[in-house]
């Protein structure tokens, strides 16, 4: 159950987007978040929407997964939309019923903001849906490499992240085991008032922490025994390949940006 929550994000399908270099996908998300603020009229929003739709179609991700990504913020999207309709009083009056006044500016603003949210969420979740966490880590390590000059421990950070990812299932299993062991001793995790339930977590967390620290120590010893001594002089087994498709993706982003700048009002 818990396993699915975190790791179920990645959907292994064979598609063009899956095959892209994690670096280009990371850059895409970063740049997309910036340029989406250029859109401010129907045409530009349409363009951004088209771009998003195209990416989604190329990724072959089933709509169900995309919807799951949107679900948590669906409320926020609807809420901002309604707020704008009610309180933005610009442009022509479209509709009036008692105190309720809907202006065309409010409608437009509400629509745009909700669209912006939707596109942002779709594109960012596309990254995690089409790239496995380890590749994201690799991509980040290479992209952050220039920051090494400013003493950013890039190699250590990415190693930490990949070890953390590798240990998630192990610790999940452990949590499950401890939970069952404590349930066998009479701890009730599922019923009772909230305060009691929070208290019941303590006998779960304490053994989990103890064992996690023990694991960390043993892992450190094993790593040292296998000759680990920091990033100096280390070669890399995982190689990233920048392909034509990645260049095309970046070019398409540039083209999109140019159009947005030209067509925005």
């Amino acid at each position: 159950m818990l396993d699915k929550m975190i790791l179920g994000r990645y959907v292994p399908v064979d598609s063009t987007v899956h095959k892209l270099d994690p670096r280009s996908k990371l850059l895409l998300v970063f740049l997309f978040v910036c340029i989406i603020f250029l859109a401010n009229n129907l045409v530009t929003y349409g363009l951004v929407g088209l771009f998003t739709l195209l990416l989604l179609m190329l990724s072959k991700i089933p709509i169900r997964f995309l919807y799951n990504g949107l679900k948590p913020i669906l409320f926020l999207i609807v809420f901002t939309f309604i707020l704008h309709i009610l309180f933005t009083k610009e442009g022509e009056l479209l509709y009036k019923l008692g105190w309720l006044e809907i202006y065309d500016g409010g409608l437009r603003q509400g629509l745009f903001i909700s669209l912006r949210f939707t596109f942002l969420i779709l594109v960012t979740s596309l990254l995690t849906l089409t790239t496995n966490p380890i590749s994201i880590t690799d991509g980040m390590e290479t992209l952050l490499h220039p920051f090494k000059k400013w003493k950013l421990p890039v190699h250590e950070l990415s190693l930490m992240m990949s070890i953390a990812l590798r240990f998630i299932p192990t610790l999940m299993e452990e949590t499950d085991k401890i939970m069952k062991a404590q349930m066998a001793r009479g701890v009730d995790f599922t019923s009772g008032p909230l305060k009691e339930r929070i208290k019941a977590i303590i006998p779960l967390l304490v053994p989990l922490f103890v064992s996690a620290f023990k694991r960390a120590e043993e892992l450190a010893i094993a790593m040292e025994a296998r000759g680990y001594r920091g990033g100096e002089g280390r070669t890399k087994y995982r190689q990233l390949k920048w392909q034509t498709a990645d260049t095309l993706l970046m070019l398409s982003l540039v083209v999109l940006t140019i159009f947005l700048v030209l067509l925005r009002s």
């Binding site: 299932p169 892992l219 094993a222 040292e224 296998r226 001594r229 280390r234 070669t235 087994y237």
Partner: protein, 279 residues
């Protein structure tokens, strides 16, 4: 006699804050190509010895020579490239996200160039019969498979000596047999030297030589047949002797005409069969 690979001279080691020496004036040699079993009950100093051999700890007195070079802070990385270690818990030594990443971890540390690395990873995994699991994640593997991956990680670095620090103690009987069989095959093929630290005496019985540790001291060393002669003493040390050895002794005491002593079930069964056909 074969060449000395590692020799320990009068090693003393004490953990901080403890009064008793964990390892107390121990000296012995490890010869090239042998399988040495290090046995003893918990706290007898056998695991500490493994850490000393790999330079994870340094002795307060005495010296360790690896291929004639003394093991010090300066030479420790050199020694670690020659001595591989497999630890007890299969999960806590799996660094990589997938099988191939884990095997590559040691190679990356050694700065091996990529084409060579790819070759060695595949080779090492084939040797432990895990070649088809390249992209498997650790939580989908059994304990025995994880330990075999750990062994692949060690042999990819082409060491002279491999230390199994209770590497089979957390595995089920099948996993244990898988791992030991793998190590045995590798040893035959590559003339690898193996030190297995264990309290499974069935495992130790198959070694070329045994060292019994007790309270940090070297209690006895010799070939398994001789060691198992001191049945009562071993039990006093908190060790048990293998079932086949016990049974064979009982047979002899009851006047059944067995001549040899038997370390494994097969040997015992064979002589019993021969005996039976003679009668």
């Amino acid at each position: 006699m074969a060449k000395k690979l590692v020799s320990l001279e009068n090693i003393v080691f004490k953990y901080e804050g403890q009064t008793r020496n964990a390892v107390d004036h121990v000296s012995f040699d490890i010869y090239e190509g042998e399988w040495l079993a290090l046995v003893g009950h918990n706290g007898s100093g056998k695991s500490t010895l493994a850490k000393l051999l790999n330079g994870l700890q340094f002795p307060q007195e005495g010296s360790i020579l690896v291929n004639g070079t003394e093991l010090t802070e300066e030479t420790v990385w050199e020694a670690r490239s020659k001595i591989g270690m497999v630890f007890q818990n299969p999960d806590n030594q799996f660094v990589g996200a997938t099988v191939q990443d884990d095997v590559a971890f040691g190679l990356e540390n050694a700065g091996i160039p990529l084409p060579e690395m790819v070759k060695r990873v595949q080779n090492a995994l084939n040797k432990v019969k895990m070649g088809s699991f390249l992209n498997q994640e650790p939580h989908h593997l059994s304990g025995g498979q994880k330990q075999r991956v750990a062994i692949a990680g060690v042999i990819a670095l082409q060491p002279d000596l491999i230390i199994l620090d209770e590497a089979t103690s957390m595995l089920d009987p099948r996993g244990r047999e898988e791992v030991l069989e793998t190590v045995r095959e590798l040893k035959e093929e590559n003339l690898l030297t193996v030190i297995s630290i264990t309290h499974d005496l069935e495992e130790a019985a198959k070694a070329d030589r045994m060292i019994v540790m007790n309270e940090g001291k070297l209690y006895r060393q010799g070939i398994p047949t001789d060691i198992f002669q001191m049945e009562g003493e071993l039990i006093e040390l908190g060790l048990d002797i293998p079932f086949s050895v016990k049974l064979s002794k009982e047979f002899k005491e009851h006047g059944i005409g067995l001549v040899k002593s038997h370390l494994t079930e097969e040997e015992l069964v064979r002589e019993l069969c021969e005996l039976h056909s003679k009668m």
